[in-house]
């Protein structure tokens, strides 16, 4: 039995539907992420799990028991708020001790458990500081420690890293992964940062307009997006609109208007004449002055560099095909001393294996 089950939950604000028939289940010990653009209903779903909002219909079950009507203070579910919501009038250790006090834990046990969890988040030496005397990352860790200290069944995290700078965020991501492994508590993590979701999660639910678009492991979400929305939202992607011309067991031929026909992997339910989109990741495209190998498995195009974007580790090249279509690709700047391989208007060739892209039915 799943630890947490969301069954056909709907939440409306007036006539606006914020969460629209969402069903999913989360296993014990899982790092589960709700990913989606701003306003897609992630926070609303999380607030229903915490108990601050009641679903208009549907049911939430924890350990098979309905959570409907159970107030937030009675749920074994704790939240790490986006703003941290640390009590400004309490020291770090008083903040962390708060849930234990509310639960009526004996004072000597409180002391031991606060010390233990502060060690988990490496904040022992800050125990007697006030929240205002901490850095953003340290506050973040206090908020996590406070939410973890009396071992909830589920920890909800609402964009906990969004207020941190890029460097610190990366470090905190690693810490979160380790912490989750260590404590073994189920994390439900909300973010609109796809990179963060891919890096942290066991499974991701991609949400759009109150609905779950795709629920899968990060590598499947990235490689096999189920819809144009998911392909577009997760990472950089070339989206080429096309029509299916023929389907066989291991190949499918599609026609991209103005470019021509090319092979790709077949998808379930594809029929000749259907329209869709070929989702092609930039890093799966080979780029060079001459990349033709004559391999029948490879698709091959000529074009010229339209634009390039130097990102340090890689350079992104926007290549204009002969018919004017723009394709994004990239090359690692691995060669020593090398900043970029091509300049604007250089003649280049593109190639990708027929199974490099993923066709998404419209």
């Amino acid at each position: 039995m799943a630890l947490l089950e969301i069954r056909d939950v709907v939440k409306r604000f007036g006539d606006f539907t914020a969460v629209n028939h969402v069903s999913l289940s989360v296993e014990a010990g899982e790092f589960f992420t709700l990913l989606g653009p701003s306003g897609c209903g992630k926070t609303t779903l999380l607030r229903m799990l915490a108990g601050f909002e009641q679903p208009d219909s549907g049911e939430l079950l924890l350990d098979g028991k309905s959570l409907n009507g159970v107030p937030p203070e009675k749920r074994p579910v704790h939240t790490v708020f986006q703003s941290y919501a640390l009590f400004p009038h309490m020291t770090v250790q008083q903040n962390v001790a708060f849930p234990l006090k509310m639960a009526g834990v004996a004072p000597d046990q409180i002391k031991a458990r606060v010390a233990e969890v502060l060690e988990d988040v490496r904040l022992q030496q800050f125990a007697t500081r006030m929240p205002s005397e901490l850095s953003g990352g340290q506050r973040q860790r206090v908020a996590i420690a406070r939410a973890l200290v009396n071992r909830p069944r589920v920890l909800l995290l609402d964009e906990p890293l969004s207020a941190l700078d890029a460097k610190l965020r990366e470090q905190m991501q690693l810490e979160l992964i380790n912490l989750q492994k260590e404590v073994g508590i189920t994390f439900i993590y909300v973010t609109h940062d796809q990179g963060e979701a891919l890096a942290l999660s066991h499974r991701i639910a991609v949400m759009s307009q109150g609905q779950v678009e795709q629920l899968d492991a990060p590598e499947n979400i990235y490689s096999y997006p189920k819809s144009r929305f998911v392909a577009d939202f997760i990472g950089q992607c070339n989206l080429l609109d096309a029509t299916i011309r023929s389907v066989s067991a291991e190949r499918m031929q599609i026609e991209i208007e103005g470019v021509g026909t090319l092979d790709t992997l077949p998808v379930a339910g594809a029929t000749v004449g259907q329209k869709g989109t070929l989702a092609l990741r930039p890093e799966k495209i080979k780029l060079g002055a001459s990349v033709a190998t004559g391999n029948a498995d490879e698709v091959h195009f000529k074009g010229k560099v339209h634009d390039c974007l130097y990102l340090g580790d890689v350079t992104v090249y926007i290549v204009e095909l002969e018919n004017g279509m723009l394709i994004e690709t990239m090359l690692p700047n691995a060669a020593p001393g090398r900043a970029r391989f091509f300049d604007d208007n250089d003649q280049v060739e593109l190639a990708w294996r027929f199974d490099a892209g993923h066709f998404v039915l419209a």
């Binding site: 601050f52 704790h78 939240t79 009590f87 849930p99 509310m102 009396n150």
Partner: protein, 311 residues
């Protein structure tokens, strides 16, 4: 002119006028009063003169000198304050009235301020306006209104006494009692408690209450562990704004207090205007100021107690 000098000049330009104002209208009068406390009253009120004009020559001379200074300077006024118990008793009584007023104001204002702070934004300004609306009519008129309400023919007395009469209780007098003093003091000072409390409560981060609830705090615990401690600055500000004026007030006890209800303010006023004993009036004023200062000092010492290592 260097930057630091011009900074210093502008600092003085900004803080100079208010400092001058405070010096002229606060520091100097207070100093004069402090000196007056050590002198003798004049024959017809005021202070015994330190200068005399010779009728024949018309020359003005300083009367006090090394030999006769104890005819002009004395500690008797202070001694009198401590020797006659009525004064200390009146002090204690006044502190009790003002303290009770402050407490009642707090109890009445807190829920009101909380409700205003939690009401929809577009209503808040209007509600605050309603709180300060009484200021638009004259203070004395409002106190006179209470005299009518509390008087034997007023509705308050009629309703309460009618109710008590059903249980065979003798009619009570309300006007000219300590009860009336505290009641009117509370009424007069209520806005001074509501406003700082509202200003404080309005700024509270609602996420903190959500967090407390999420972490297992009941409604009651959320109030006492989060809202109340965070509102203490507002409580202190409101308490000071109510307690200090209530302690020194004389108009309210004068009008509704009768003989039982008088406070220090009445006594001080009496010394200056009726008994014309300025030195003793000054002593009373100084003792009042000192006792308020000592109390404020004690409060801030209590509030500062290091609780960092406590869990």
């Amino acid at each position: 002119m260097s930057i630091s000098t011009s900074k210093r000049v502008s600092k003085w330009l900004i803080s100079g006028p208010p400092l001058l104002y405070l010096l002229i209208f606060f520091a100097i009068p207070t100093g004069m009063m402090a000196l007056a406390a050590f002198r003798f009253p004049g024959d017809y009120g005021g202070l015994m003169p330190l200068f005399g004009t010779d009728a024949a020559t018309g020359k003005t001379t300083l009367l006090i000198n090394a030999q006769n200074w104890h005819d002009y300077i004395t500690l008797d006024n202070f001694a009198r304050f401590f020797q006659e118990p009525v004064f200390i008793e009146l002090f204690i009584k006044s502190f009790c009235y003002a303290g009770l007023t402050t407490l009642l104001c707090l109890v009445l204002s807190y829920p009101l301020a909380w409700l205003i702070a939690r009401s929809p934004k577009k209503w808040r300004d209007l509600l605050v306006l309603l709180v300060i609306l009484p200021f638009w009519s004259n203070f004395l008129i409002r106190v006179y209104a209470w005299m009518i309400i509390l008087g034997p023919q007023g509705y308050f007395a009629k309703v309460v006494n009618g109710f008590l009469g059903m249980f065979g209780v003798e009619p009570l007098q309300f006007l000219f009692t300590p009860f009336a003093v505290v009641l009117v003091l509370v009424y007069v000072h209520l806005p001074f408690m509501v406003l700082p409390l509202y200003a404080n409560l309005e700024k509270h981060d609602m996420a903190l209450l959500d967090a407390a609830q999420d972490l297992g705090a009941s409604r009651w615990q959320r109030f006492w562990k989060v809202t109340w401690p965070l509102s203490l600055p507002g409580v202190y500000a409101g308490a000071a704004l109510v307690f200090i004026p209530a302690l020194g007030i004389f108009a309210v006890p004068d009008l509704v207090g009768g003989t039982d209800g008088i406070m220090i303010g009445n006594l001080i006023k009496q010394q200056f205007l009726d008994s014309r004993d300025w030195p003793f009036g000054s002593v009373l004023s100084i003792m009042l100021t000192l006792s308020v200062l000592i109390m404020a000092g004690l409060m801030s010492l209590l509030g500062r107690g290091g609780k960092r290592n406590a869990l």
